[in-house]
Amino acid sequence: MNVKSLTANRTKNLSFMHIMRKYGTPIGIVILCIVFAMLSPYFITVSNIMNILRQAATITLIAYGLTFVVAVGYFDISLGAVAGTCGILATYLMSQGTTFLLSLLGAVCLGAAFGAVNGFAVSKLKLNDFLVTVAMMFIAQGIDILLSKGTNIFVDTKTHKLFLTVGQGDIGILPVAAIVMLGVGLICHITLTMTPFGRKIYAIGENQKVAYLSGIKTTKYIWLAFIIAGALYAMGGVMMTARLGAGKSQAGMSLLGDAIAAYALGVTFLKEGKAHIVGTLVGGLFVSIMANGFTMLNIPFYYQYITWPIAILLAVSASGSQRE
């Protein structure tokens, strides 16, 4: 019974689970790609891959927002509804004649406003984050219906060329949407991992009491995290409308499952259990590939209601991130 044999056995036992935890999502992506490629010849075409990237943009942007909130130690279930509502606001403004950039600004402001209320209630009033964001989800849906009257808002793409380009155009081969997704992701990643701000956010997420005692103004940072998240949700929502060319009413629920799945799948990657942007990006790609494959195979949309929970459950139990 020497030490070496003991440790050797331990490493062996850990290694499979360890690999699954750390690299499960990218491995899953590879497996999915192989399966789909075998089932359909169109899967591996350049245009399809670009399509996957384009589709991933919406959900990934929203999931970036969720990443900030979870990094600071809370959860936000209003993300889908806020994204949908901000998208509706943007298209509403555009249909009234505002330029795309101003409408985008308006939508981002609305998203930040939602985030501000969420953040205030959670950080200052110390209310339960889930309940507050559930309430906000319904309020957002109300505003959504108020603006859209339950129908879709179409945008005149002749006058809003930039809008169309962002959603459906390309720069060279790469879709603009993908560039936005990667660019925003880069900014978020740098903010979270390389700035003092980001470090404080993670510190609060790890242990709020200790962070507070060590001098971090937790209230302010939690509030900011929610506001940033709200702005990101809005960007995701506008991206969705840009892809569709119209504002889709009540899009919140479908975005909810996808975005949470994207975030959850990303949490296991690279840094076990910690919310981070790169993982979320990979998670978003995973979700997009799965959705793309489903469409290729003509599987109706509602089967996603079954795949989301499975994906989220696997991801969350593997990563141990949402344990009590």
Binding site: L125, F130, A135, Q141, G142, I145, Y305, I306
Partner: protein, 333 residues
């Protein structure tokens, strides 16, 4: 004259003193919700003459019936320290499922039992995820909330509405539309279930244990209560109740539509939290949840009578949840 005004002022000061030193805030907190509810009722009755009629109130009770049942089920979970986001989704699922099975030719009561069992099954999954796996209930029950829509769409082939048109189903629709001795059946059923639930939660040993776990997990474990088994139990109970609520919705509608009972989630959550502030300091209990559910039904009817546009309903739900959590002062971690 001066003497008596002095006396008066002294008297007021004394009362003020009692006011401040007595547990006034606590007492107001306990009665506050009821006072709030009564005030809202007064406002509504001032705006609309129909509000105070017996017909209206019977209608309110009838419409609140599914929410009452769902809220009772959710009370078990929250009293046990958990949470269940999937209440509405499970209700929708059992609503669609029971109608679907009946239309497939299953006998009525077999279909009803099957739907209830489905609720228990999903509840046990929730119990597994939240209890055994230890995942935070919010995310854990979110899984079922998302999942439950799937079978609904699959069964109805994409969301078609189902109708129980023929008379063969009249025994079933009696549950939703009939009346026993003049009282609508849903009211009878929901209130009886409510009373049974109240007795179970507050008078039986199992009920006590559930509340113990909700109060303090550690103390309950140390006292020997098998926590994981109880987690399973509360979620199974909630699933059963949610399914029952969904079946009642199907009975009342005489058919089903995909996701029609989803809003019940907010109603149940708000009912339990508002209810926990009535006479109690934030402890969830059945009678409170029932009153809370009736109050929400009253608000909805009142808003419709007053004439708020359709988007108001969502805002209403959001504000209700906000009010509920602020009232009960639910703290975050």
């Amino acid at each position: 004259m001066t003497v008596s005004t002095n006396n008066l002022i002294n008297g007021i000061k004394k009362i003020g003193g009692y006011w401040a030193h007595s547990d006034f805030k606590g007492k107001l907190g306990k009665c506050g919700s009821l006072i709030g509810m009564v005030s809202v009722a007064i406002v509504f009755s001032a705006i609309s003459p129909f509000f105070l009629t017996l017909d209206n109130w019977i209608d309110i009770l009838r419409q609140s019936a599914p929410a009452i049942i769902a809220a009772c089920g959710l009370t078990f979970v929250i009293a046990g320290g958990g949470f269940d986001l999937s209440v509405g989704a499970q209700a929708s699922l059992s609503c669609v499922m029971s109608v679907y099975l009946m239309l497939q030719g299953w006998p009525i009561w077999t279909a009803v039992v099957a739907a209830l069992l489905c609720g228990a099954l999903l509840g046990s999954f929730n119990g597994f995820v939240c209890g055994t796996l230890g995942i935070v209930p919010w995310v854990g029950t979110l899984l079922i909330m998302l999942f439950a829509s799937g079978p609904q769409y699959i069964a109805t082939g994409g969301g078609r509405v189902q109708y129980l048109a023929s008379d063969a189903f009249s025994a079933f629709t009696f549950l939703g539309k009939g009346a026993i001795c003049g009282i609508p059946t849903p009211v009878v059923i929901s209130l009886s279930i409510g009373i049974l639930a109240h007795l179970f939660l507050s008078k039986t040993k199992i009920g006590y244990n559930i509340q113990a776990i909700g109060s303090s997990k550690q103390a309950a474990s140390l006292a020997g209560i098998p926590r994981k088994k109880y987690m399973w139990l509360i979620y199974i109970i909630c699933g059963l109740f949610a399914s029952a609520a969904g079946i009642m919705v199907a009975a009342r509608l005489g058919g089903s539509q995909v996701r029609t009972a989803d809003p019940m989630m907010t109603e149940a959550i708000a009912a339990v939290y508002i209810g926990s502030t009535i006479f109690r300091d934030g402890e969830p209990y059945i009678i409170g949840s029932i009153i809370g559910a009736i109050f929400i039904g009253m608000m909805r009817t009142g808003i419709t009578l007053v004439g708020v546009p359709y988007w108001g309903e969502y805002l209403f739900r959001g504000i209700i949840v906000f009010a509920a959590i602020i009232l009960s002062g639910i703290r975050s971690k």
